[in-house]
Amino acid sequence: MIIDDINSHFIFVYHPDIYNGKAYTTYQGRRLTNGEVLEYWGKWIILGEKSWLDELARNLDPYVEKEQIPCIKYDRKPPENLELEECIMMIYCDKRASEEVWQILNRHGVKLKAWVSERETMEMWRPGGMLLERWIVSNGLSEAEARSVREDAQSKLGYVFDHPDELFQPWAQ
């Protein structure tokens, strides 16, 4: 199911039961804990024109509905604050299933092969992380706003690192 809300920067591809509470951070039908997400969860990165990613999303949607791909997220337009000229698509999955997912992507024309772990991503979005600090600067936040953003990031992401045995709870993006 493609979720294309014009008010969101991202377009998502989820299983239709997502609104019935179905979790997507799973492996072999089992929800992952925070520790397992940090150890195993991640994504294949794809860059391209929006029109090509729209087509790719339509082609991959059936795999999400069949639960062969857990979920997908991509930019509605190139992220200007990151100085990128293309949209980014992220194909999320457990690392233990990543090669099977890669084979699906390759069959649908994806050539770039770049795996980024969720641990690495979260570390970049924690206070002091390159992505968070760059986001703060590019959005021209005041010191107070920046402090608030850093506290929020630490609260959300720090929780994941500090509570490895709890089930992972995704947050809205």
């Binding site: 294949w44 990165i45 860059l47 391209g48 992220p79 990151l82 100085e83 990128l84 000229e85 293309e86 980014i88 990543s98 890669w102 050539k111 770039l112 092969k113 770049a114 795996w115 980024v116 690495e120 991503t121 970049m124 979005w125 390159m130 992505l131 760059r134």
Partner: protein, 92 residues
């Protein structure tokens, strides 16, 4: 020995134009970048900083794995390997 390098449009700049993939030779990632620099002068400068290390703004992957987690520029490559290069920011 031939290694395939995939580079998105954001990084291709003037050398590669419309080519999404190019082939190169080398026994390590570093040698592959040297080979590409010979074919496309200025390429290496885009990838490496003044100290000869991978720029912070670039991520290089071998068979899907970030070489920062492997042996960096000394990472061995073999025939038919796939190298992918993306802007670091795209990984977030």
């Amino acid at each position: 020995m031939s290694i395939i390098v995939t580079i998105p449009a954001s990084l291709r700049k003037k050398w590669l134009k419309a080519q999404e993939q190019v082939s190169c030779e080398g026994k390590t990632i570093g040698e592959c970048l040297d080979h590409l620099d010979q074919r496309f002068p200025g390429f290496k400068e885009t990838m490496l900083d003044e100290t000869g290390n991978i720029r912070e703004t670039i991520s290089i992957f071998l068979r899907g794995q970030n070489i920062r987690n492997l042996d960096k520029l000394s990472t061995d490559v073999k025939d038919n390997d796939e190298i992918s290069i993306i802007p670091f920011m795209a990984g977030g």
